[in-house]
């Protein structure tokens, strides 16, 4: 579904991502791990078009997406959450999700001004769909609360609901379990499984919580210093000597 081939990007003299290859197969939950500064988030930014790669290609469902603008890539079916939560803070939870229905809806200013039937129907649908998604992630009760006023764990869930509102085939989650306690990350893992099983969305996630990554992912890619260090099933990756060295150092 997603094929990343030999992708590199440098910032100044620093090669943040260096000829990385990565594959995500349809229907899997894939993990991207690595020590701090390994370039994981940069890979996300490359996939979602926030950066254009210096070299290499990114192909999503047979279509080259590298160098395309972010909104176009979202339209093609890739959505994401952010490591440092980036909700639309002053808007309500419901409105946050409705805002993300943008690329799946059509009506413009004129339809709104003339209050056409098509416009009203689309607005109603947008609202219903957003409410369904809030329900799905368990935020139906707080739909009118300002996003910035929600507790941290719920903000993470709202970001997921917002990303789902764009109807992605591939969902990128950047450290969804960061700062969560055991119960919270347990229920988050359940949510991610439901996203895959009930919505049929492929998931690629970054996390430092090894319990989450090992328990959730079908395949894992390990990055270190911008390069791919390993790739495989969780048990393979866990026993890979290079990975152990990167995380724990050499004895």
């Amino acid at each position: 579904m997603l094929e990343v081939r030999g992708v590199s990007i440098s910032f100044g003299g620093l090669k943040a991502v260096d000829r990385v290859d990565m594959d995500v197969a349809e229907g899997e939950i894939a993990g991207l791990i690595g020590p701090n500064g390994a370039g994981k988030t940069t890979v996300f930014n490359l996939i979602t078009g926030l950066y254009a790669p210096d070299e290499g290609s990114i192909v999503f469902r047979g279509q080259a997406i590298h160098g395309q603008p972010p909104h176009r890539i979202t339209e093609l079916g890739v959505a994401r959450t952010f490591q440092n939560i980036r909700l639309f803070g002053t808007a309500s939870a419901l409105e946050n999700v409705m805002m993300a229905r943008h690329c799946r809806t059509r009506s413009g200013s004129l339809a709104a001004i003339f209050f056409t039937r098509a416009f009203r129907q689309e607005e109603a649908k947008t609202r219903v769909r957003a409410l369904e998604l809030l329900e799905f992630v368990g935020l139906a009760d707080v739909r009118d609360v300002r996003a910035a006023d929600l507790p941290y764990g719920l903000q993470r869930r709202l970001e997921i609901a917002r990303a789902l509102a764009t109807e992605p085939q591939l969902l990128l989650l950047d450290e969804p379990a960061a700062g969560m306690n055991e119960t919270e990350s347990e229920s988050l893992m359940q949510l991610i499984r439901r996203i895959r099983d009930e919505l049929g969305t492929t998931v690629l996630l970054i996390d430092h919580d090894m319990r989450v990554v090992m328990g959730l992912c079908d395949t894992i890619t390990v990055l270190n210093f911008g390069r791919r260090l390993a790739h495989g099933r969780p048990d393979e990756v866990r026993s890979n000597p290079d990975v152990i060295e990167a995380y724990l150092g050499r004895e």
Binding site: T48, L50, P69, P70, H71, T74, E75, A79, R80, F82, R86, L87, F88, G89, T90, A91, E95, M98, M99, A100, R101, H102, C103, R104, T105, S107, G108, S109, A111, A112, I113, F115, F119, E122, E123, T126, R162, A163, A165, T166
Partner: protein
Amino acid sequence: MPEFLAAALNAYNLQVAMLITINCLLGLSVWVPLSAGQLSLGGAGFMSVGAYTAALLTLQAGWPITLAIAAGAVFAALLAFLLGYPTLRLQGVYLAIATLAFGEMVRILALNLRITNGALGLAGIRQMVDEVTWYLWDHTSLGSGALDAHTIASLVVLGALLLILAVAVYCLLRQASSRVGRALRAIQADELAAKAMGIDTRYYKLLVFTQSGFLAGLAGGIYAHLYYFIGPSDFGFNRAIEMLLYVVLGGMQTLWGTLVGAAALTMLPELLRFSASYRLMLYGGLLVTLMIFRPEGLLSAATVDALSFRSRRRRAAAAPPGEGAA
């Protein structure tokens, strides 16, 4: 008609009321891009373009006033679109400076071009109130009662201006509560996240910029045909800042704040006339005081919400029966 009403409808009061509607349009032209997080100070430039275009069309091409004003607005919108293409890559204060520079360019062009008559400006522009007055004289018997024809004509023009403002407000409100408005708020809140959520930020920034140019150009065309004269100094740096003040002091969270700000700041210098030469000092002092004690502007979103009928009904519905309003 009661005496006091006839007295209140004097030429001066009506003129101030018309100026308020124009300034409301100008305030909205700043508010629209701000609602998507874009600070444009090019408003005076677009107003100038609208004013000169419309005035030249009536003066030299003999166009009807309404058509000329519309053409001025469309031309200003077109120019805003063309200017927006390169400048909307800029963010924050850089965009403000680039648009301010555009305003200065327009002013200097108007100062030096032959067609705009340089520093002398354009004089003898046809005036809306006059035209309506003549029409009333020629075709009706109005104006022989308590109100003279000129006052009635002023009322007609004021009514037309209020109608234009109402239409603009209606359109902007509808837009704000639609998919487009959500996109604008998303861009204002977090441009990067908006992009990642599938919003074409460039398109929407260009859209608000064009709308802003249209509103300022419209206000300019009306302004030109309310007075006999326009000159380059009518559309300088001061004007650009004044337009921004309407929005900031009125409260930029909602569109209503801009209208309140424009009305208040248009009337304030008039009300301060008693203080003669201290007038501008008092004006400045009041603005500073207001910003210190009410930084969110005269009308904040919370105030609007508290005043709105819909939220009152919502609160009433939310309150459990028997407990009353808490």
